[in-house]
Every structure is written in C-alpha cells, then in structure tokens.
Amino acid sequence: MIPELGQLALALALCLALAQSVLGLLGAARGETVWMAATRHVARGQFVFVAIAFLCLAYSFIANDFTVAYVASNSNSALPLHYRIAGVWGGHEGSMLLWILMLSVWTFAVTLFSRHLPLEMVARVLGVMGLVSVGFILFILFTSNPFLRLFPAPPDGRDLNPLLQDPGMVAHPPMLYMGYVGFSIAFSFAVAALLSGRLDAAWARWSRPWTTAAWCFLTIGIALGSGWAYYELGWGGWWFWDPVENASFMPWLTGTALIHSLAVTEKRGAFRSWTVLLAIVAFALSLLGTFLVRSGVLTSVHAFATDPTRGIFILALLAIVIGGSLLVYVLRAPKIGLGGGFEPLSRESMLLANNVIFASAAGSVLLGTLYPLALDATGLGKISVGPPYFETVFVPLMAPALFLMGVGPLARWKKASLPDLASRLRWALATSVLAGLVLPFAMGRWGAMVALGLLLAAWVAASGFVQLYEKVRNASSGANSWARLQSVPRATYGMLVAHFGVAVFVVGVTLVKGYETEKDVRMERGDTVEAGGYTFRFDGVTAVQGPNYAAQRGQIVVTRDGRPVTTLNPEKRVYRVQSMPMTEAAISPGLTRDLYVSLGEPVGATAWIVRVYHKPFVDWIWGGCLIMALGGALAASDRRYRLAARRLREQYAAVAEMT
C-alpha cells in the first residue's frame, strides 16, 4: 500500500510540476498576474508530493518491505537502521528520487525567499525549474521506478553495497546533489533573464546567494566523497581523477568561475553575456555528471548497473534542457549590452583572468574525462587518462589563480595601479617568499614544488590579512576597532574566509604530496616497521563478528621514541550477504599528520601484507574545503542581498506605474 502511495504521490508531483512550468512561463509571457501568483503555490505543492514519495520509499526501507524490488536489492534485515535509511539513495532509482527531492527542496526555498523579487521573474524562474522537474520525474517513472513490486517476494534483501555502509557515504550523495541541483537556480535565473530580455545587474544580484549556497553544498559533497575514498578504499589516496570525481569537479570549477563572474556583473554590469553562458554551462555540467554516472559510458568505481534506455533518456533530457537554453542564449545574447568598460589592470581584468583559468581547468578536466570515450568511439583504441595528465595541467593553471587571489580583491574596479598594489602587498610578498624558502626545511627536506606550494599558500593567507586590515582601516563607521570589524560586510568576510580555506587546502595538498611515507610490508606477529618517525608493531589478527559482517581485526601498536602513541585496529571485513571483502583502514588523525594502517592480504599462516602510511597535514585538505564552504555560507547569508532585492523591486514597481 505504502509503495503505491509513493508512486501516486510522484505522479501527482509530475502533474504539479507540469502546471508549475506552464503557469509560470506562459503566465509571464502573457502577463497573467493570477497565473504567475499561482505558480508559487503549485511549486510548494510539488515539493510536498515529492517529499511524500520519498518518505514512502524510506518507510519501505525502514519496515524491511522486501516486496519492493528496489528495497530487496539494496537492503537487508540485518542492516543497521541508519544504513537502511541511507539505502534509500544507495542504488540508481532511489538516488534519482533523491535528486528530484533536492530539486523540489530548492524550488521550495525559492518560493520562500523570493518575496522581494518581481512577480514576473519569480514565475519564470519557477517555470524553468518546473520543466527540469518534469523531465526528471518522467525519467524516474518510466525508466527507474523505485516503487515496483517483486513477486514472489524474497525472504530477505540482497543488502546494501558494503562500500556504501559508511557514515561518509550517508551524507555524500545528498550534499553532492544539493550542489548539482542548486546550480539549476542560477540556470533558471539566467534563462528567465534571457526570456524577459532584462539582462542587467538585477538577475546577477538575485542569483548570487543561490549560486554561492549551491557551491557550498557541492564543496562539502566533494570533500565528503574524497574523505570517504581516503579511508574506505584503503589506498590512502584522497583524489583519483576518476571519471565520476571529475564529473562532480567540473560543475565545481564552473560554479567557482560563475560566482566570481556574477560579482562583476552585479557590481559593474560587465561580462553579462559570459555570466549567462557560465550559468547555463554549470548546470549543463551537472546534468552531464548525472549522465556519466547513470549511463555507464565510463568505467569508474561508481559503475552502477547500467541500462541503455536510461542513458538515452538522460541524454535526451540534456539535449532538450541545455540545447533549448543555448538556443535562447544564441537568439538573445547578441542584444546584451557590454556593460562598464575597464582598463587592462583592474579588478575586472583580474576576475576575467580568474574566469579564463577556471573555465580552462573545467575544459581540461572535460577533455581528460571524455578523451578515452572519444578514442573508443572512433575506433582508435582504448586508453585511460590518469593523474599524470591532470596534475600536469592543474599546477600551471592553479598557480596563477592563487597569485591573483592575493591581488584581485585589493585592486580597484575599472583601473588599478601596479605600483600602488605592489606597495600595499610588499609585506605579504616578503612573508610568502620567506615561507617558501624556510618552511620546507622545517619539514626536513627542501623541494622546489613544496616551496612553490607553501609560498602560494602563504601568499593567499598573508594577502588575505592585508585585505582584512585595509577593509577595517577604511571602514567608515565606528570609532573602536571592534565596531569597525563589525561594519565590514558579511559577504567580504565570506570571501576572506573562503580564500583562507584555499590556502589551508593548498598546504595540505603540498605537504602530503611532498612528505608522505607509504610502506607495503609483509609483517609477522611482533614485526615492526617505521614510517615518518613512528614505529608500528604488528600484534597479530583476531576474528570478530559485526552486525552483518565477519572481520579479521589486526592490532597495531604505534610508538614514537619508545613512548606509546596509539593502537590501531584495521579490519578486513567480509559482508555476509554479498560475500564481498572490504578493507577498513584504521586512522589516527591529527592536525599535523594522519597515521594510516590497512590490512592487505594474508600471506602464509600468520603473516599479513600491511600498508602503513604517514600522511603529514592530510586533514588540512578537507579542513580547507570546509573552511571554503563556511566562507560561502557567510557570503550567501549576507543581508545586503535581501535589502538590495527589496530596493530593486520598488524601482521595478515605480517603472511599471509610469508605463
């Protein structure tokens, strides 16, 4: 009964999504105020029904209803409750339902926070989002229905993929999807602006907080996925340039470019046409990511069971949504004005450079990801593109980006002066050069790449402090320094924090790459191995039983200079239902290093292959991502956006009265 209810709710959500897009788009085109006003309520209704459908599926999981085919293949009665809930998005059908839930959550949020926007704009934005929603609900109902029954029902389910039975995996897909789907708002704003023909600074201002919010979720989602790969796959790597990782990284890079380009469009009215295109491309890459993961055209750790009709459906969706919006863009873009002009050295030019860099980065990831497919499609052979390509491309792209990160925020709009910038940044420059020269020695060994990385990280951090210092000094109001600190807009703090997060991230990447120790050794009971100044003693393996798995648990005692540091218990698990062996690494995390141990294979009667890693500053990688996301959250919540939106609405109303 409950699964049927879920399916009915989804079908009703489809009707409402259809109504939402028709009322919104047609209403705005024909100037029907009542239709436009109704759009918001219909959109909320859509959210309610999608949520009901999702809860119905979640209920089937919690109640172990194995008559539902999807539950039977992704859950098991021995599975702990929290993983039964996570199992809802553990397979293809459910994760598509999660996708559509996220879209309706964002739609709902737009209906809540759009009171200050002109009605016509809101109607168009919701109309476009409704169209995307229609496409995806149709996709679920026709190719990936999670509510289908299974007769006869099996006595128990086939269990959730053991790789996904992990806290990081519980949160990774929702965060990632919030990010992917969140870019649909910037996309909808861009298309709405194209349709209305009003491509001024207003649409940029409205879509800025939404884009930043989506970017935050995507940042956290990617960081969670990377952290999961680090401790769950047992190789100690944190980024593999796997096609599906790339699929999430491309929207992130484009989204980062979009955030910066929106700033220029809002403040100076420049880059109008480019910003609209970026908004379309960011969402296009999100859809492409969905396609790559769901269709199985690329081999990857995420390879789900593949079904060609699904691939064709998503491809058609991609063609309609993105092709349609590109067509509108091509028809309207030539009429978009150029906006304010600027000198070769100005904040605009630096943000332009930022955009060029990030767009090139996204382009080269796209190239590296699709190149094997292109070769295969043209019959030229099978290859895979791995880390060497991406690293070769990324270092030369990101180094200038980091440099600009220090200068850009200090440069004036329209025209900046080089001597002025140089003098304001001289201390930051001196500090960072010193850091690059000296700090590697503190780590024990000087290397050119490490020095470059630390120099750039120190540069970003130090110039950030210069930016903060100048903002506070120039703050108009407030006598004491605390009041001045408070008068700096929250969005500025957001930018500073996010840029600081980048510095932290760069430190992590540089030091892990430069100084990590990895040892794969055969160990008998009592054997010791040393890594990064720590001594690891192997004390054998014992058998333990988990709720739905049996494990071999190793015991490794870590000491440093004879003093005990910690005891690590890596496991080799075999999940009973899928009889799939899993490596569960044991990690002792720390601010300056991770100690990472995982069990390989047993050799002989008592010996094991043990992987022992010393990873200096590795947690700074994810720490940096979280700080970036925090900065984004600060920026997105700046109340200036809301005030500015209200003022603009009044202006529109005044114009409407006059005409």
Partner: protein, 175 residues
Amino acid sequence: MNRYAILIAVFVALLALLAVGLKLDPREVPSPLIGKPAPSFELPELHEAAKTFREKDMIGKVWLLNVWASWCVSCREEHPVLLDLAASGAVPIYGLNYKDTREDGLAWLKGMGDPYKLSIFDADGKVGIDYGVYGVPETYVIDKAGIIRYKCIGPLTPRIVKEKVLPLVQELERA
C-alpha cells in the same frame, strides 16, 4: 553570430559523442595477444596426469582453447553452447581447467558432459597469466600457424558462436 554557431556545434558534437558512447562497453578490454602467436606451454592433461599437451601439438589445425573451472558460475551457463558446438564438429575445442582441483574438474565434466577433445590442467594458473585470463570463462580461436585470432571474455553465447566464431573458423580453415 559565428561564435554562437561554434557554441552550438560543440554542444551537438558532445551529444553525438555521448550517444555513440552509450553503445560501447567501457569494460571490454581488447587482448594484446590478438594477431600474436599463442604463448607456449606444456601442461599435464586433466584425465591422464602422466600425459602432457603442448600448444605446438596443434600446429596445422584451427582450434578453440576454452578456459573453464568447476568453481565458475558463468561456465555452467556456457556449457550447453560448448556441447552443441562440439557435437556439430565444426571445430575442435580444448579445455584449460584453470585454478581448479583435479577431482572437482573431473566430477564437473562427468556431471555436465564433456565437450573437449581433451582438457589440460593448470592448477596454479601460470598459463592463465601468460594468456591474460582475467574472467573465466574465456575462449581463444587459434589458427593453423598457432596465432591467436579472436578472444571472447565471458561465456560464449549461441549468437557469438554463430556470428563471430564459426565464420572466423571457416575463414581460417580455407586459408
């Protein structure tokens, strides 16, 4: 207008690429052994451990080498296809019993029927490594000069036999 045309062209090219990509199987890895001489080996037979078999014994004949094991589930699925092919007499099939025990292998052939002229016994899988076996069952078509002409990873199906294996064998027989 020109740059917009480029934009649309790039998008259409991308869609076309993805559409073609849907038809391909990324997990299908071509064997580097195709067109190369079959790696040489000398292994005991499964039924009579005292006798050995070498790939050189087959020079002058077109034959199939089928890698199988009693523990392999897909081999059960493939087995009737092999029995039919053997009964048709189109091409001799030789089995490579891979990482198995002699008792299990023999019991399996006894229970399921034996399509092989003879099976050879590769207990530690060393010959399997030379042949690049990574998914059992695998089947190799080897020509009169001892060159590998075709490799099928996974079970043979009636369709693969009809459309790929038999035409190839006939062509090689004529050569």
